[in-house]
Amino acid sequence: MTDPFEQLAMPIEPQAPRPAFARSLRARLVEALGLDPAAAAPTVELPRRKPMSATATDAAATSRAT
């Protein structure tokens, strides 16, 4: 059996808390710091959108108008 005190050594392993807790605590911090909640919102990577086809839309709008 190895030295029990060596067995106790424990590096810090990141662990995600409950998302609801993380959001709630973040909101508390932003409020306590007096920051604008909108400006302090976390940056979210949005999925890239496909470009819309202007020609098709314009054609449909034109046909509805006539």
């Binding site: 059996m1 190895t2 029990p4 005190f5 067995q7 106790l8 050594a9 424990m10 810090i12 392993e13 990141p14 662990q15 995600a16 808390p17 409950r18 807790f21 993380a22 605590l25 973040r26 508390r28 911090l29 932003v30 306590a32 710091l33 007096g34 920051l35 302090a40 976390p42």
Partner: protein, 168 residues
């Protein structure tokens, strides 16, 4: 309410740090306390203390290491509040999945969880966190000499439980 002495940059920097450091602070507290509920409470206390420090302008450097130091003090405060009460810990947050490899480690953690708050906090700071005796003493608010005596007693209590556990 924010203090005007804290610059907007510092306050925004703390929120950025929160986004980066939350898993480490929470992971540190969850692994040491063995309770998700306690870890959430102490994580909240840690970051609210950080807000207070930023507003008072007493933060040496806004880093993850500094936050872990704050979390460590919150953990010690938690154990102090427990005093001499001997409550059973909640089930560990993280399930050990490699039983054969981690058996000794599990026994050691069980023995540690079975100790009283004073012994547990001293051994956690010294052996889990790997702090030198001087820093353990500072965290516990004791002299180095008193801390060494506490560690000797805590190790003896730990060994007795560990050896008893490994013989089961």
């Amino acid at each position: 309410m924010s203090d005007p002495t804290a610059t907007a940059d510092q306050r925004a920097a703390l929120v950025d740090l929160y986004d980066r450091a939350l898993p480490e602070v929470y992971g540190y507290l969850a692994s040491r306390s063995g309770s998700a509920t306690v870890a959430e409470d102490l994580t909240s206390e840690t970051f609210l203390a950080a807000v207070d420090a930023v507003q008072r302008g007493t933060v040496p450097e806004l880093t993850v290491a500094w936050l872990i130091g704050v979390a460590r003090h919150k953990l010690v405060d938690h154990w102090r509040r427990q005093g001499r009460e001997r409550d059973l810990p909640e089930p560990p947050v993280e399930v050990v999945d490699d039983w054969d490899v981690r058996l000794d480690q599990l026994l050691a953690r069980e023995a540690l969880a079975d100790l009283g708050p004073h012994h547990r906090s001293a051994l956690t700071l010294r052996y889990l966190d790997g702090l030198p005796v001087r820093e353990v003493a500072a965290c516990l608010g004791r002299t180095e000499g008193a801390t060494e005596v506490l560690l000797v007693r805590a190790k003896a209590a730990f060994r007795a439980r560990y050896e008893n556990g490994s013989e089961r």
